[in-house]
Amino acid sequence: MGIRFAFFISLIAGAVVSYLFTGHPEPSWTVAQLDDYLLNILILMGINVILAVSLNVVNGHTGQFSLGHAGFMAVGAYASATITLLAGKSLLGLLSPLGLMAQPCLFVTALLVGGISAALAGLLVGIPSLRLRGDYLAIVTLGFGEIIRVVINNTDTLGGARGLSGVPPYTTLGWTFGIAVFAIYIVGTLVNSTYGRGFLAVRDDEIAAEAMGINTTKYKVTAFTVGAFFAGLAGALYAHFIGYITPEGFNFLKSVDVVVMVILGGMGSTAGVTVAAIALTILNELLRQTEQYRMIIFALILIVLMIVRPQGLIGDIGKLLPRKKGGA
């Protein structure tokens, strides 16, 4: 009972506050208060949280190492942009009887389209990946991410290599915050439920799980699909925030960004990855001036973390302790 209550209160409170301070139309006495730059960072934080939590479903909870998450984000971004930018005018016309609610409705549609398209992509990626383990899975997911990027690169209607600009800036803090909380709630509930135990079983020992009668296929595919869905939402939010998307922005390095968040936070811990996402967004901004150093620091974090504390800073203890891999 308590958790549901807390969830609703924070969701409503956050939405109200965010709307007051950043919504459309903007009440003049409040909007002037909030520093644009800070707003920027907060929204990016929210998006990163969604990305980290969604990747965690696949990597952390289900133990399927996916390196192609940026691909799902890209699908969500482009699909939603298609709705608002390419089909926007006609759709807005259709929705005009709704008056002030037309734009939010359009945005919701775009978000849903983004999420669902990404989920479909997740399904597509999940299925062939079923036969693969560990290293191979990682490379294949990377390959899929690259393929998605190359396809977008070569599709002129989506702007191709030059990208899509002029995506309407519908993302506000309210939306971002709301969806972030939604993502955390869904993922958290899913994994901690009885159904969700299946994910952890797959992660711990797939063969044993299969032997116990758990349909590992179903769980793996579900993990990919759910993870992809939220990544798609994050992508849609991102597109409508920055206003300009290019395939390069969703490349392997972006996937690595998200992977670092998940690893830092501890694979399998929703709270951990959320904090990691927030921390890394801040670190990102602080190091903005020195982009090259940022990546070097990220890389060092990864290396040191793997040697010293592979379970992440706040991770699920006991799940990733060193295991001896026998050979005989």
């Binding site: 956050g14 965010s18 909030l34 191709g160 901690n192």
Partner: protein, 378 residues
């Protein structure tokens, strides 16, 4: 754990009201101007040169007492030649540094990225060298002090036809708006005036291997090839072309303008031709004076980007003077009224599309140097 997470998030977001906008009233004793350029990364050569030009202009203005009695404070941000960075740094300059105007960028794609932001914030933006027409179409706060690709493409096409190169193949960088636009405009004039387009090949910035495209071009046996991309790839393209025995001349646009072109291409570019904004061989006193000052200040050779960077800053200053204020709307109107401004790159008049109406020069690469061939007026 989940409960804690949600509460933590809630606290963070509810703390927002506490974050009032820092009352950094913009320091009104200086005029804050923002500049974004690719100081590092793939097209660093452009960014650094245009930045030098801009910097020199600002220093000159400040040495003469500034504008409207105030010194100009230039904030320069590096977009690292990357997509996505331009938008972020321009946003930052507008909201954090309270700039009254933005100068930038050379690459059309990055100008396109930043323009909607400036337009929405009602901050005038002057691009020194972006030639894709779409840039100024974003809105009435966006200007440029160079010619646009429909003109540049036409200039190149005219030159090709005049030289008797009737059969031409095109190699386009599909990752750059600049290249796509230039190829498109070249093609339309060229074909409409009797030229034969033998084929279009494409590549992406960052590619290293063009043998496949060049082999296909070779079999078409063109009289010349248009390589409408930037210097980074064009040099390689020419080199690989010569290896494959494709010995016809190459044509290019102002994206070739960089000493790196010759560094990478070596002798492969001899005899090739490109269009540009001005030539260092121009004997006019204004240009020679500029060259001398630049060489002294930076101990290196200026190029078209430096000259344009210089002109963009000077025109901005001139507009501020004429407007008598740095207020966005008035400044925008003043810039729009720029007429016959004596720039280093020519007499600059901003037309109703907020583009500069001026001439282009054709340069030929001879002995590793860019030699002047002719001027083409619109």
């Amino acid at each position: 754990m989940k409960r804690a997470t949600i509460f933590a998030l809630a606290t963070v977001f509810l703390a927002i009201p506490a974050c009032k906008k820092p009352q950094l009233a913009s320091d009104s004793s200086v005029i804050s101007v923002g500049e974004f350029a690719s100081m590092t990364g793939m097209t660093a050569s452009f960014g650094q040169k245009s930045h030098n030009g801009t910097l020199m202009a600002i220093e000159e203005l400040n040495a003469a007492g500034g504008v409207l009695g105030k010194k100009i404070k230039l904030t320069t941000e590096d977009d690292q030649s990357k997509a996505g960075e331009a938008a972020t740094v321009v946003r930052k300059m507008i909201s954090r540094d309270h700039v009254v105007a933005v100068l930038g960028e050379v690459a059309s794609s990055r100008s396109l990225e930043a323009a909607p932001i400036c337009q929405q914030a009602k901050i005038p933006m002057i691009s020194p060298a972006s030639t894709n027409p779409k840039v100024t179409e974003v809105g009435d706060y966006i200007f440029r002090v160079c010619f646009i690709d429909p003109f540049q493409g036409t200039v190149l096409a005219k030159y090709a036809l005049a030289k008797g190169w009737k059969r031409v193949a095109i190699l386009t960088d599909v990752k750059q708006d600049y290249s796509v636009g230039l190829s498109q405009f070249f093609k339309s004039y060229f074909v409409a005036n009797g030229g034969v387009l033998l084929g279009e090949q494409s590549y992406s910035s960052g590619d290293k291997d063009f043998k496949a495209q060049l082999t296909a071009i070779k079999s078409a046996q063109p009289d010349a090839v248009l390589a409408s991309g930037y210097y980074t790839e064009s040099g390689l393209i020419a080199r690989q072309a010569r290896e494959l025995e494709v010995n016809v001349p190459f044509l290019g646009g102002d994206g070739w303008d960089s000493p790196s072109l010759i560094e990478v291409a070596g002798k492969a570019m001899e005899g090739c031709v490109f269009s540009n904004h001005f030539s260092v061989e121009d004997s006019s006193p204004a240009i020679q004076e500029f060259l001398k000052k630049y060489r002294e200040r930076f101990k290196s050779e200026p190029d078209a980007m430096s000259a344009l960077g210089y002109d963009s800053a000077m025109i901005l200053a001139d507009a501020i003077k004429r407007a008598g204020t740095t207020d966005g709307e008035a400044l925008k109107n003043a810039i729009a009224q720029t007429k016959d401004f004596p720039g280093i790159t020519g007499k600059i008049t901003l037309n109703s599309d907020r583009n500069a109406s001026k001439s282009a020069v054709i340069l030929k690469i001879t002995d590793g140097k860019f030699r002047y061939v002719e001027t083409v007026t619109p």
